[in-house]
């Protein structure tokens, strides 16, 4: 009998229309094709989301979150209208109000502040992708109290990178995925560069090249890695400096590169006790000097024809000047950094450290290759080829979220530079607008004048004590105490300190806390319970200690419950956004690119894009820049701002299709700009000429191209800073030099930690005796912080989170999978389910980040596993260290940048009988949006 099978329609219509925009299920900013289909009612709805193949970031691929976007735009947790609090703070009792009323309330609160004391507004935004706009708005308002989430996220990485080499990882650059042959990944579970890292690992693996993962936990990328180094948390700096030791000792460093492109040949004054000690030798114009190896004479580093000498020393006025490389040899060749010395501390056998160093050296030098591309450097010398050193590195919060993170990140950047593998083929490459030396970044501004804008941008890079944000009496000018002696280089601010400082009225009291897109009452806070108490605490007269809280969220998060006024945002498919070169664009190492979001669907609720609301508020407050002379609105809404705002003449939020539509980077505003973006798939991209594509900091062709694109006003070549002189300036102050002096209790710490050459020190955790185990979190690839749990598809993957424990600790505590343990730190305790994991550093436990949820949030039912079995590690982490007995409370942060030291957490573990729910349990919040349906059968087409 003949085989019969049904006839199948193999060419069904896929959709009625594709609208191309930018994903925002995380901050990676991939391009998406949103397939629209008409439902039975004829209305077009989102039917399917896939990656945009033409997009520079993701080239067609899409992660789990991105594909689940459809469940985000229909999530029952979406806020529906502006909310005014009617119950006590934290209860979740609200009344829906009109936008007019909401805006009147906000204006009524903010107007008097601006007129009398603008600093009484603290405006902090989360993983906002419009920081150039929100920061500018805050500047127009006049408050010094603005920052985004960088301070608790990875400011160590960013700052260390910018001071050292003019850029760091992720938004700043990427490995040369097409050429690299050995890729070392430090402390990354997922990162912002989610899809590109995965694509890169895929490329490397397809070529049979090797990946080494340095991470206490072997999951995800580290599981795919060929070699795993299960390092003890907080010791990467030591491990890296031991690699430096091995490489220097074996002469496996790129001397030519060091001499030409770094400050290794720059001359450091050896004048102990003087105010000059440790500073670099400069000419009158302030240019650092080197000794020309040909002439043996001093010369500015950038003079054409100069061959900086790495060995020659210089005497002048009785002071000896030695090249930076000498100082490095003195330090790193010491047996303090020998593999044997560090092995125990790092939890890595000495043999393995040596083997890794040998492998790095082998690939960097024996597998070096050349690209047949001529280029000319900033000294005017033309090079026939581009030399490739195919070793590349990437790192993120695993090394940055420790109290020694700044120096550890510095160590990693220095390692890359010693190998000569930054901005060369096969190595690490910057993405425009980087590279950009630290000295051309703005400095922090805190000049407040009632009724007027701030005297400049809030955030920036300090180069010495004179740049700190201190008031005349030496007290902090900012509510988060950024840019103070406690954390001088806090380039991103300290969002994690805002609530506790505002509550304590230290350094001063504020009136209105205005937050956007940050779930500070839950997963982004340290000491979550304490923060909830601070937010609800009242004074003697029964008023809230933090008088007013305005919050913008798109969803019914935990933080919503703590606001007095909630401004509901549209979702990412319902609003305009701008992923700008002024901010964090989507550039690639070979291309300059930026992107937009646009309303591919209209909101079906009474919500508005937050940036447009902010513009409206600015107009109501008559902020300069937002209103014309006659008081009328300059920008109708955010879309209008994106197109017409100019930072400098010819330079605005978007680089593409400026002027008559042919301008790239520079040009007058083009009213058609957004349409051109939409036609092009939501993004703009222009390629860097081939001769400009490597050696960017020193490549004349790149510098000229960057100027033509409006990235700089003039070429800005510079040297990599192995030795970071601004750090030394703070040390000098601590040693007693200069006008501005640190308080005495901070002198020692500044002297030891702000070393201009990378050092390693034990993360500062005295008071942890009896809490011997490291406790970490990792981001799940399929979840974005707290947002994922409202997503019907994603929460099936990660609906609760066990504490993963190494085999050794499981045995020691008599635990087996599914048992429960009480986990305590000096600060608090939680009771949670445990699971065994063998591929884990044997003194480390970990869990997925932000899976635990407060009952009543996110439109989940109160018995949702996220609330009954899920948990946060945050309850164990305090923003202050345990008391030391010196009468002071020290911040749980990096002493240089103020980066929150999430991963310094130490705990103790005890087996307990299973409770009915993971502990602690908080009373449910009343959901302002109810809960979701009992069943989903989502199909929009027929």
């Amino acid at each position: 009998m003949a085989y019969r099978q049904p006839v199948l329609e193999t060419s069904p219509e896929v959709s009625d229309e594709i609208r191309r925009t930018t994903c925002y299920m995380c901050a990676c900013r991939c391009g998406i094709n949103v397939h629209m289909k008409s439902g039975p009612d004829g209305k077009k709805r989102v039917a399917y989301i896939e990656g945009n193949r033409d997009h520079p970031v993701n080239k067609g691929v899409l992660c789990a979150k991105g594909s689940a976007g459809i469940m985000q735009v229909n999530a029952p947790s979406r806020l529906r209208a502006p909310l005014k609090r009617v119950g006590p703070r934290g209860s979740g009792e609200f009344e829906e109000i009109s936008w007019d009323e909401a805006m009147e309330i906000a204006t009524g609160w903010l107007k008097p502040l601006r007129e009398e004391a603008p600093e009484k507004l603290a405006f902090f935004t989360g993983r906002d992708q419009s920081q150039s706009f929100t920061g500018w708005w805050a500047q127009q308002f006049g408050t010094p109290n603005y920052a985004a989430h960088g301070g608790f996220c990875s400011v160590n990485m960013a700052t260390a990178g910018i001071y050292t080499m003019g850029g760091a990882f992720w938004e700043f650059g990427q490995p040369d995925w097409d050429h690299t042959k050995l890729f070392l990944l430090f402390g990354v579970a997922e990162d912002h560069d989610s899809n590109p890292i995965k694509m890169g690992i895929g490329k490397i693996k397809a070529r049979g090249a090797r990946v080494i993962g340095v991470n206490p936990v072997r999951t995800g990328y580290n599981a795919a890695a060929d070699d795993w180094i299960g390092i003890t948390p907080g010791t990467d700096g030591l491990f890296i400096l031991s690699l430096v030791h091995e490489l220097m000792k074996a002469g496996k460093i790129d001397l030519d590169y060091l001499a030409r492109y770094t400050n290794a040949p720059c001359l450091v004054a050896e004048a102990p006790g003087s105010a000059q000690h440790g500073l670099l030798l400069r000419d009158e114009g302030g240019k650092t000097l080197v000794i020309d190896r040909a002439s043996g004479k001093l010369a500015p580093f950038d003079r054409p024809g100069v061959r900086p000498d790495l060995t020659a020393t210089h005497e002048q006025d009785g002071v000896t000047y030695r090249p930076v490389l000498h100082l490095m040899a003195d330090r790193y060749l010491s047996t303090d950094y020998a593999p044997e010395t560090v092995a125990g501390r790092c939890g890595i056998p000495a043999d393995k450290i040596r083997a890794v160093a040998a492998e790095i050296a082998r690939v960097a030098f024996d597998e070096a290759f050349e690209l047949d591309r001529e280029w000319t450097d900033f000294r005017g010398e033309t090079h026939k080829t581009m030399v490739g050193r195919p070793v590349s590195f990437h790192a993120m919060r695993g090394i940055s979220a420790h109290a020694n993170g700044f120096q550890s990140c510095r160590a990693l950047h220095v390692l890359q530079i010693l190998l000569g593998t930054v901005e060369v083929p096969g190595g690490f490459r910057f993405k425009p607008p980087y590279p950009k030396p630290s000295h051309i970044h703005p400095k922090p501004h805190c000049g407040v004048t009632p009724g007027a804008p701030l005297d400049g941008p809030h955030l920036g890079f300090v180069h010495g004590p004179e740049d700190l944000a201190l008031r005349d009496d030496g007290s902090p000018a900012r509510i988060d105490k950024a840019f103070t002696w406690e954390n001088p280089m806090s380039a991103h601010g300290l969002m994690h300190m805002v609530i506790s400082n505002a509550h304590a009225g230290d350094p001063y009291k504020i009136d209105t806390l205005f937050m956007y897109m940050a779930n500070m009452a839950w997963n982004s806070s340290m000491n979550t319970k304490g923060v909830m108490e601070m937010l609800t605490d009242t004074d003697e007269s029964g008023d809230y200690v933090i008088p007013r809280i305005i919050y913008s969220d798109a969803y019914s998060s935990e933080m919503v419950a703590y606001a007095d006024l909630v401004l509901p945002d549209a979702t990412y498919l319902e609003r305009h956004d701008c992923i700008s070169l002024l901010d964090r664009p989507i550039c690639e190492a070979d291309a300059m690119a930026d992107a937009i979001r646009w309303p591919v669907i209209e909101p079906d609720r009474n919500v508005k894009g937050f940036q447009s609301v902010l513009i409206d508020l600015g107009v109501r407050l008559a902020l300069p820049g937002l209103v014309s002379e006659d008081g009328s609105a300059r920008y109708a809404d955010y879309a209008d701002y994106i197109v017409n705002h100019e930072r400098k003449p010819g330079i605005g939020p978007l680089a593409g299709w400026r002027g008559d539509g042919t301008g790239a980077g520079r040009g007058a505003p083009n009213p058609e700009q957004l349409n051109r973006y939409i036609d092009n798939g939501g993004f703009f991209e222009t390629h860097i000429p081939a001769e400009a594509s490597y050696y960017k900091p020193w490549n004349a062709a790149y510098q000229d191209w960057a100027v033509s694109m409006g990235l700089f006003d003039s070429p800005q070549p510079y040297l990599f800073q192995l030795y970071v002189e601004p750090l030394r300036r703070f040390q000098l102050a601590a040693e007693g030099h200069g006008e501005r002096q640190p308080p005495d209790h901070l002198r020692e710490r500044i002297k030891t930690t702000m070393d201009p050459l990378p050092i390693w020190y034990e993360t500062d955790q005295q008071g942890n005796e009896g809490f011997p185990v490291n406790a970490l979190t990792q981001r799940p690839m399929a979840m974005y912080h707290s947002w994922g749990s409202q997503n019907a598809w994603l929460r099936q993957l990660h609906g609760h989170n066990p504490l993963y424990m190494p085999t050794r600790l499981m045995r020691e505590h008599g635990l087996k999978d599914g048992d429960w343990a009480r986990v305590s730190s000096p600060h608090g305790e939680i009771t949670v389910p445990v699971m065994e994991m063998a591929a884990l550093n044997d003194n480390t436990v970990w869990t997925w980040n932000a899976i635990g949820k407060r009952k009543g949030a996110w439109a989940l039912e109160e018995d949702a596993p996220e609330a009954t079995r899920g948990f946060l590690l945050n309850h164990l982490i305090h923003e202050l260290l345990p008391p030391r007995g010196d009468g002071l409370r020290w911040a749980n942060s990096d002493p240089i940048t103020g980066q929150a030291a999430w991963f310094d957490l130490k705990v103790k573990i005890e087996k307990v009988a299973a409770p009915t729910e993971s502990q602690p349990v908080f009373p449910p919040i009343k959901s302002p949006v109810g809960t979701g349906p009992k069943r989903l059968r989502w199909k929009v087409g027929k």
Binding site: T219, R795, Q796, L797, H798, G799, H800, N801, M837, A838, P865
Partner: protein, 289 residues
Amino acid sequence: MHPARSVILFTTLSGLGFGLLIWLGLGLPTVTGWSAFAFFSVAYLLAGGGLIASTFHLGRPERGLKAFTQWRTSWLSREAWCSAATLLVMALYGAGLVFLEARWALLGWIGAALSLLTVFTTSMIYTQLRSVPRWHMALTPALFLSLALAGGALLAGQVGYAMPLLLLAGAIQIAHWLRGDGALARSGSTMNSATGLTGGPVRAFEPPHTGPNYLLHEMVHVVGRKHATRLRAIALVMMVLVPAGCLALPFSHSIAALAVLSHLLGILASRWLFFAEAEHVVGLYYGKR
């Protein structure tokens, strides 16, 4: 496997029903009139009830008739045909006995054979599944058939046959358990073969989903060993020993009823174990059996 009530009821009741029909078909006992009516009613209630119970397991019972189409390959389809044919043939045969007091022996034998075949096809639905090693052995049809015969004999009051058949079924049951216990190991399927991973023992780490799903619900069921041993003992005692003991006693209706009831409960326990103890190899992927 998940011991679903519908499937346990189905196999238990229909096994007994068709078992009774075998004996009735053979004319053991030869009954007519009202007593035939009573016997056939019991048999049809059991067989039919079992079949109806089985449809509760279907996602789309209204399309049930489609199950008749694939008799060439599918044991489930064959079972549908056999049970329908049996019920039809035995209905005719029964009608003769009840209404005409006529025993069409040939029809009875055919019906008995079909009944036996039905039980066999039922057993083959499970036996054929290589993915469930505990079922995938010749002892499975032997168990189903011997239990149907023994239970049928008991219901049919065939004391002489029932006694040895009960003991035989008990022996097969024990063998099924013992062979079954090593079946997964003998199947060669392990976490290594399931994943193709070599180089050391494989342990399931993170599950693909923290929530429940169809596979876990349907196919991954873990019974504690102590619990299982206790249930096995209960099943054996109730299914075989109590009825056999009853048979050894002088006949009385209440004792006969006790024997049948005990046997029924015993089979239910045995069937519960049949499912609950059956490890589907998919459990290997979840690190569970």
